[in-house]
């Protein structure tokens, strides 16, 4: 196959002699700029295009030829699509005719001034944040209503689904949560003891581990892990169901997606997060105790005794009270963002990211509020 080529004769009656293969494969894209430039100089003159040398033509080639022809003078006459073309073979005729009727460009509108775009984005973002806060609150309300309904009509309860989510969000996270809190307990003990040793108060490492792990780290780190692990998977699962119209199908069948998808996930995390937080607290103590025994010469018996004596049960309660709240927040945000997915796979990805960021933010915010609350209570 030969390359697409053309030569021009300018003048009062310009002529284009087209030669070779006028197809994408033969380089239409390459000569398009040239032919465009030529078109600008021949506006309003009767153009002749000689097709004798064209051995191959495709729809794109025909389009370029027709566009050139129609740009030159008042030739946009659909009744005579071949006017101005010479030596057209029968085969190419059809393509040129077809192209004449379909000269449409998908022009994209020019981008607006950048400062306008920036202003618009800022405004849009502000509105979105306010809107979303409102929506999340109403979603929380709706979920609460459905949960109380479930209590009133236990027939609605979906034990299989709840247990399934408890397994994937809770049981399957046991190892990673346990390992992480063990290590955190160990690090706190070690770092604490290093600093306390300067004051000869190494033995207070026990208090340090006990209070920090029971009150904060155990539950907070569990929540952070679950937000990253389960919150995102809730969003992705519900979001892709949304994209494939599964949720619409449920609604049409009279199944409330809140009942079928959201309530079981919320219940599952309400139960699973406290269990995991408990495990985290215990393993954090074990980690701290292990470091004390191996590196600080505080025997396990002493560690146990001081923990029991000095670290009142209050610390443990303060930690555990937060766990279900965190679980609820993570599950609700994950499900909410999943339900908000619209349109494209890209939106699903965006929502999954937002879901993790929002639930982490919420977990830490709630934790701070709890801290203030318990401080006021002198607990």
């Amino acid at each position: 196959m030969s390359k697409a080529e053309f030569s021009v004769e300018d003048g009062p009656a310009p002529r284009i002699e087209a030669r070779g293969g006028w197809t994408m494969a033969d380089g239409i894209a390459r000569i398009d700029a040239q032919i465009r430039k030529f078109t600008e100089t021949t506006l309003d003159k009767p153009l002749i295009i000689d097709m004798a040398g064209v051995d191959n033509l495709d729809t794109s080639g025909a389009m370029v030829l027709q566009r050139t022809m129609q740009a030159c003078g008042a030739r946009a006459d659909l009744s005579q699509p071949l006017k101005g073309f010479e030596n057209v073979s029968d085969h190419h005729k059809v393509l040129l005719e077809q192209a004449a009727g379909n000269l449409v460009s998908c022009e994209t509108p020019p981008p607006r001034a950048s400062w306008l775009v920036v202003l618009e984005r800022v405004g849009q973002a502000t509105e979105n944040i306010l809107d979303e806060a409102l929506h999340i609150m109403s979603f929380v309300g709706a979920v609460m209503v459905r949960m109380f309904e479930t209590i009133r009509h236990p027939g609605r309860f979906r034990p299989t689904s709840v247990v399934h989510h408890m397994e994937s969000a809770g049981l399957n996270a046991l190892f990673i949560v346990g390992l992480m809190s063990f290590l955190i307990g160990a690090v706190v003990a070690f770092m604490g003891a290093t600093v306390l040793a300067e004051f000869g108060a190494e033995v207070f490492a026990v208090e340090l581990v006990g209070i920090s792990v029971l009150r904060e780290f155990g539950v907070l780190l569990t929540a952070i892990l679950i937000a990253g692990r389960s919150g995102s998977s809730f969003t992705a699962a519900i979001g892709s169901m949304k994209l494939r119209e599964e949720i619409d199908a449920m609604q049409a069948m009279g199944i409330d997606p809140l009942d079928a998808l959201v309530v079981p996930r919320v219940l599952a995390l309400l139960i699973a997060v406290p269990c995991l937080a408990f495990l985290a607290a215990i393993l954090g103590l074990v980690g701290g105790g292990a470091v004390c025994a191996l590196a600080l010469d505080i025997p396990p018996a002493l560690f146990m005794a001081r923990t029991q004596e000095i670290i009142v049960i209050d610390n443990f309660i303060v930690g555990m009270v937060k766990a279900p709240v965190f679980g609820f927040a993570i599950a609700v945000i994950g499900c909410y963002q999943g339900m908000m997915v619209r349109g494209s796979a890209e939106d699903l990805g965006r929502r999954t990211t937002i879901s993790v960021v929002q639930s982490l933010f919420l977990v830490i915010l709630v934790d701070a509020l709890f801290a203030v609350f318990f401080m006021e209570l002198d607990y």
Binding site: T59, H91, N102, C106
Partner: protein
């Protein structure tokens, strides 16, 4: 003169786990024809299409397309991708791109030197050829109806003027007028561009109006691949039921009426 085979499938076996979908399947597609592929739901029409274009790797057999081997030896994707266009069963448009960008994607991939203007013009023409109005170009695929998505997918499949077009149930979900236009469109493509078209379809009107030959998939094989009249005369029970059922007779009747009119 014996017609030239543009697609040759020999002894292909496809299997998912223990479920055998194709066994010793042979198929020829001639250059420049519109081949209709029919068969009950789940007989493996889509799997056959995927096998021919190299998306599904068979367990055994030989697949050749445009004289290049797809299986067992794999021709490089670049070698054949430019020459084939595929319309997937549910469109498979890129959901994060606008309609126009979807159509431009193969153009930009294979012709990186293409200017924005030319790409936009070509995309616009293909969309218009597929029967879409001006203005859809800026929409996102999720904002379109099912039938419009099919048309965009067709425009994208035709973006590079392929030599072979694979269509998986292109008229399913189109209104009858739209489906008839679609038939005309692909017949026009075949006549004007010398395209070969491999069309999986359940649309009896399309089969009657548009196809040159019909391949019937049953019992894990292509049981017959011949012009429609010959297929009709076959006494295989499934074929009898397919064309002899109320819908088959109605489609045939209306077509005869329109021909004599």
């Amino acid at each position: 003169m014996a017609p030239e085979n543009i697609i040759e499938v020999r002894g292909v076996r496809n299997q998912f786990g223990t479920q055998v979908v194709h066994k010793d399947l042979d198929l020829d597609v001639h250059r420049g024809e519109i081949l209709g592929v029919v068969g009950g739901s789940g007989t493996g029409k889509s799997v056959l299409l995927r096998t021919i274009v190299g998306l599904q790797i068979p367990k055994a057999g030989k697949v050749e397309i445009l004289g290049k081997q797809i299986y067992p030896k794999r021709a490089s994707a670049k070698e054949i991708n430019e020459d084939i266009g595929i319309l997937f069963q549910d469109g498979a448009l890129f959901s994060s791109m606008t309609v126009a960008e979807n159509v431009m994607a193969p153009l930009r991939e294979h012709h990186p030197e293409i200017s924005d203007e030319l790409a936009e013009e070509i995309a616009g023409m293909k969309l218009s050829l597929s029967g879409l109005n001006e203005g859809v170009g800026e929409k996102m695929p999720s904002e379109l109806s099912g039938g419009m998505r099919k048309r965009v997918a067709l425009a994208r499949a035709m973006a590079l003027d392929p030599k072979i077009l694979f269509l998986d149930e292109p008229t399913a979900g189109l209104d009858p007028i739209g489906a008839a236009k679609f038939d005309e469109l692909i017949m026009g493509l075949r006549d004007n561009l010398g395209l070969t078209i491999f069309m999986v379809t359940h649309d009896l009107d399309s089969l009657i109006r548009a196809t040159d030959r019909v391949a019937v998939l049953a019992e894990k094989q292509v049981i017959i691949n011949a012009p429609l009249d010959e297929v009709r005369r076959s006494n295989h029970p499934w074929i009898q039921e397919y064309f002899g059922g109320p819908r088959g007779r109605a489609a045939q009747g209306s077509n005869l009426a329109s021909q004599s009119a």
